[in-house]
Amino acid sequence: MGAGFRRDGGGRVNRTQPLPFTFNGRRLMGFAGDTLASALLANGVHLVSRSFKYHRPRGILSAGAEEPCALVQLEEGARTEPNLRATQIELYAGLSARGVNAWPSVAFDLGAVNNRLSKLFAAGFYYKTFMWPPSFWRTLYEPIIRRMAGLGHAPKLPDPDLYDRMNARCDLLVVGGGPAGLAAAQAAARSGARVILADEQAEFGGGLLGASRTIAGEPGAAWVAEVIDELAAAEEVRLLPRATVFGYYDHNQLAALERRTDHLGPGAAPGQARHRIWHIDAAQVVLATGAHERPLVFADNDRPGIMLAGAARTYIERYAAVPGRRAVVFTNNDTAYETALALADAGAEVAAVIDLRTQADGPFAERVAERGIPVHHRSAIVATVGGQRVAGVEVRALDGAGEIAGGGAQSIACDLVAVSGGWSPAVHLFSQSRGRLRYDGTNACFVPGVSIQAERSVGAAQGRFSLADALADGAQAGVAAARAAGLNAVDMAPAPTDAPPAGGIEAYWLVPGKRPLGHGPAKHFIDMQDDVTAADIRLAVREGFQSVEHVKRYTTVGMGTDQGKVSNLNALAILADALGRPIPEVGTTTFRAPYTPVTFGALAGRDGGELMDPARLTAIHVWHETHGAVFENVGQWKRPYWYPRAGEDKQAAVNRECRAVRECVGLLDASTLGKIDIRGPDAGEFLDRIYTNSFSTLPMGKVRYGLMCHDDGMIFDDGTTARLGEDHFLMTTTSGNAASVLDWLEEWLQTEWPELKVYCSSVTEQWATLALAGPRSRDVLAALAPDVDLDDAAFPFMTTREWVVAGMSARIARISFAGGLGFELNVPWDRGLALWRAVMAAGEPYGITPYGTEAMHVLRAESGFIIVGQETDGTVTPFDLGMDWIVSKKEPDFIGKRAYSRPDTARTDRKQLVGLLTEKPLEVLPEGAQLVDQPHHPKPMPMIGHVTSSYYSENLGRSIAFALVMGGRERLGETIYAPLKTKQVKAVITRPMFLETGKAGGHG
């Protein structure tokens, strides 16, 4: 071994590229190709962070995505990230990180006092206490619990980075670029299949990168490089490194998170999307996701320096980082013997191999024996010592029953314990695909059983752990998948390997300690992040929690950031043992997406800011902007709210606009009105059914107002419809409902009345619409259309004509939502701005005033016109609004009619639309104020209605309001009260109309 813990040669780190970094305040050096974890180990650092509940020191357990312990807060400021696994962070120059859940430092953490109290803090302890006195919960107990909870810290600043969403289709998605996945991708790609190969690591190769294996007569890594070269050259293959397939969804669709810039360091790739979410629609899937090694559950198995045996080997062989100088290997299977050899080869002293079994087979065990490494068969580690790093273990022999046998204890000093409790196939995606798992007793793990979707699990992911099996499975599955996707694939012989067959394992779920479980200070950890012990599982069972889901929830086992990748099976087995039932009967918990955590920002993609929802702008928008309009969001539209002049507040501007329309002339951009072109021989009949009133009787060139209801009788939209021809109508809808009205019409036409010959098209954005209103509106229009007779007789109220206005062909309707004289001018969308300018110019002599939606609301209220969605809320009928006149008595049926005879809908004391005049004329009721008869009634106070619209009316010099009041129409002249937070407002009930301006007509 060279300086520190880095080997002089070997591994895949680039020694010519040293990278300085800072961890827990220390300045350290690593190499390109390191992960943060391997760089720390190469510097002899094992203590990384603190655990969740007891604040125990935590080191590095694994070398990958399954890591539960080594969690860090990466960087500071806007790009800081909590809870990242040191085992997955690719080292870059200047990296700065610190361990989570420690204060003031990981080495000296005040929270560690919890460990002293750990006897009290058993599973579920918080359900049993903190209840008295009740007031202490809010003021004392809960604040303390919350302060203690959590691991890392959220950033305090917005994220400066970008994220993207990608969509891809393929014949075959291969998840995992280890030997099985590579073989599958290669076999399928040779058939010309469209293949996507995704792997969560920077380099393809999986386990081959951390093991000395020979494939086809050459080192495994060389074989990997050849296959990758072949795949990269194949036109239909897409390689996705640094991409974790995290979710398996319905209909064989999967999602992956690709990390594109994290390895470069924060902010190093400006303009490039940091992460991408890939939506992959795959005809076939091969799951080559490998397996996770499990730790053994033994007393105080959580000290830093206690590491999974496979991980130790990966650190040595892939990263050239030796995780200790004097190691003990503890195992129940053959694979850990290879780690013992790797340690010895790397110059570490292997003090002992402790094997729970009576014997070990296989070539590695033989070689360990040949090397003279002491092996203790049928023995166990029954205690460990050490503070922030393991310093030694105590070994005892076991008897035939697996209990501690007589004979003395042997203490072995060490700074590394390499542990293997066997391997669990990474069946997460298989399980997400709804596939059913099967328990494999021989290998002591769950393996894919019955497939549901079009996927195949191969190699270690299928519980076939030898390299030869992986290569064979992969080759076969690749060909089979390609064929299933319709390609003409040729069988591919698997690459030969000299790797030994997978060794044996003897399940050994709970290693006895020196004292009975749960006695004394020692703890048998199962979940090392959330500090769940074997005693906790037993406690849960004792307390009646017997379903695995109950135990999980009661103890929180497997609920941490790793979601139990290394702890689930140990927990399940110890639960099964406590219940006295076999493992497969106790079952397994459901695996859910995501496989590993997925960045929120990546899920959001670019759907933020302006792109969250496209803003719809009218053709005249630019004019509104340059004239200082304040805008209102109406659905997706931006509409001018009011046009303030210098020194004006909202009320002053609205007052001025309202007065201008009543006294002179105003102009409103009404282009957002929904417009639907309806044609066909049955159009009239269709509209009779859709509206509450008749339209087949509407004469040509006339306009009629209509209400639309759902079949429960409740109002859903309103608007005017003009008859342009025998078989041709132009309907308008409210701005917010345009799309849903069109959907509504189509639904009836297509699903209920296919016999009607009617065609509907949205023309909302074909026509720009200007509402010209006020006593001088006719003069303005006359100036623009001098040849047209605009007299009442020639162009009466509620008619429409096509004329040339300001040199543009236009459709003019004599209607007004403001009430009084008014015209609606429609021109093709792209002429809208020109017409607006022309009208403004023609109106200049009259002081024409552009007005916004707020003035429109006031004006229409003065005139007694309703707004759907304001006077109505889905519970209001036309009768409630006093609009009986619009409900056809003659039509045998229309949508909604049947509902009016239901008992509740037919009540005469329903809430009815009325007007309200406050006692103090300048007092404006808040919209949404509730109304009562008895303002001094104790709460709950009987409410008789609420204020739906309320304004100060400049034209009337007082406030006006609409309200829905129980039986209101029978109560004109009566006084009611609006109890507000700080006062009561008295108001008199009136008719819902305040200014005689003419009949109803359209809206803005």
Binding site: T80, L120, P155, G544, T561, Q870
Partner: protein
């Protein structure tokens, strides 16, 4: 039943926690009960608890297909509030909230009620009108409710983005300070332990496969563990109410949809309250463990699959980042789906049925968790008296014929 307290905790710690007894029994089903409750979720267990405690009805079985508390009780985002619009809803949810406020002591089980306030954000004029209307109605109903202008919203939840430049800026919010979150599993377990102690049999892994009706009256149920006679049968099987009701020939105005939720990795405290936004489909809070708990929207189609599409989560995440730009680098740790039974008016059915002795409690949509104690309380009354309590008298099946719907789409805060 062992009384839980710091004293019993210390005593048991000294004996290595080996002295605790089971929190509930696992009895074999008896051949007959006075009342059979179908579904051991929070509502069913609360019903059993209050039947035993308030009405002296203890010959009760709660039958559960899986494990108790394993349906929507264990799959929701744990939000509790009572700020509903109509008097009928306000009364039942407020009754429930009051029960919540004493529930830990009532059950001797810490349900970890965290009254950190619930903000309902408003993003446009229509939202504001609806929000103010609800605040006024709440106050007159005796329910705490406040209207906050954007600056007050920011003061209450400083990490919220209230920038007027946002696509849909925050233009105000309603606040119910007594609202908050609770530990969902604990509620089911606390009611189970309390009901069990009063003699109720909670029978897990016992699926009801049929309901026997004779002469228009229920006489029992058939289960995977045999037939059980019962004088009264109460269906409280959220997520499967249509399926169970069908066994008695009943059609319900319910459709079952997936509702997804997710949690982030655990974080040190960052989110001081509960934030909901109807317009942009977001609700988020932080659990006692430190995870951000986030609700996504309802998938559009009927499903019993307990899972939904990723696009629903993506849509909702766009809105989350808009409101909480500092959340962008956090990560989704776990996602899941529940099955919500949605009624056309976003209000529940807690009522008698046309079949004698058969009762139904369901259709709570996305809002069932907060109602757990109140729902059980009134349902127990309904069963014990064969007549509804005034608090649930309006939540009938007949309202769908009469037209007397209780439209709470605005207050439901998740599009139904």
């Amino acid at each position: 039943m062992t009384k839980f307290s710091i004293v019993s905790l210390v005593r048991n710690a000294l004996s290595h926690h080996e002295g605790w007894s089971a929190q509930w029994r696992s009895p074999e089903p008896k051949p007959a009960y006075d009342v059979v409750i179908v579904g051991a979720g929070g509502h069913g267990l609360a019903t059993a608890y209050y039947l035993a405690k308030h009405h002296g009805v203890t010959n009760v079985a709660v039958l559960e297909k899986g494990w108790l508390g394993g349906g929507n009780t264990g799959r929701n985002t744990t939000i509790i509030r009572s700020n509903y619009l109509w008097e009928e809803s306000a009364a039942i949810y407020e009754h429930s909230l009051k029960l919540w406020e004493g529930l830990s002591q009532e059950l001797n089980y810490n349900v970890m009620l965290s009254q950190r306030g619930v903000l309902n954000l408003c993003h446009n004029t229509h939202d504001i009108q609806e929000g103010v209307r609800r605040v006024n109605a709440n106050r007159l109903n005796g329910i705490d409710a406040e209207w906050l202008v954007p600056a007050q919203v920011k003061a209450f939840c400083p990490i919220l983005n209230i920038s007027p430049g946002a696509r849909y800026p925050v233009e105000g919010a309603t606040l119910q300070r007594r609202g908050g979150v609770a530990r969902h599993d604990a509620v089911a377990w606390g009611f189970a332990r309390g009901a069990d102690a009063r003699g109720v049999d909670i029978i897990q892994n016992c699926e009801v496969t049929g309901i026997d009706v004779e002469a228009g009256r229920v006489i029992g149920v058939r289960t995977t563990r045999g037939a059980i006679r019962a004088k009264q049968v109460a269906i409280v099987a959220a997520g499967h109410n249509s399926v169970v009701a069908q066994m008695a020939g009943l059609r319900l105005p319910i459709e079952s949809h997936p509702l997804q939720a997710l949690v982030s990795e655990p974080l040190k405290p960052v989110m001081p309250t509960v934030v909901m936004s109807n317009a942009v489909h977001v609700y988020v809070s932080q659990s006692d463990k430190g995870e951000l708990v986030i609700g996504a929207g309802v998938d559009s189609f009927n499903s019993y699959g307990q899972r939904g599409g990723l696009h629903v989560i993506e849509d909702q995440m766009g809105a989350i980042i808009e409101l909480f730009p500092i959340f962008s680098r956090l990560r989704m740790m776990r996602s899941w789906g529940g099955i919500v039974d949605v009624c056309p008016d976003a209000s529940p059915i807690v009522a008698k049925t046309p079949v004698g002795g058969l009762y139904i409690n369901g259709g709570w949509g996305t809002g069932g968790f907060k109602a757990t104690p109140g729902s059980g309380w009134v349902f127990a009354h309904t069963i014990a008296n064969d007549a509804p309590h005034p608090l649930n008298a309006a939540f009938t099946l007949e309202r769908f014929s009469s037209g007397a719907l209780i439209d709470e789409h605005g207050a439901a805060a998740v599009a139904h």
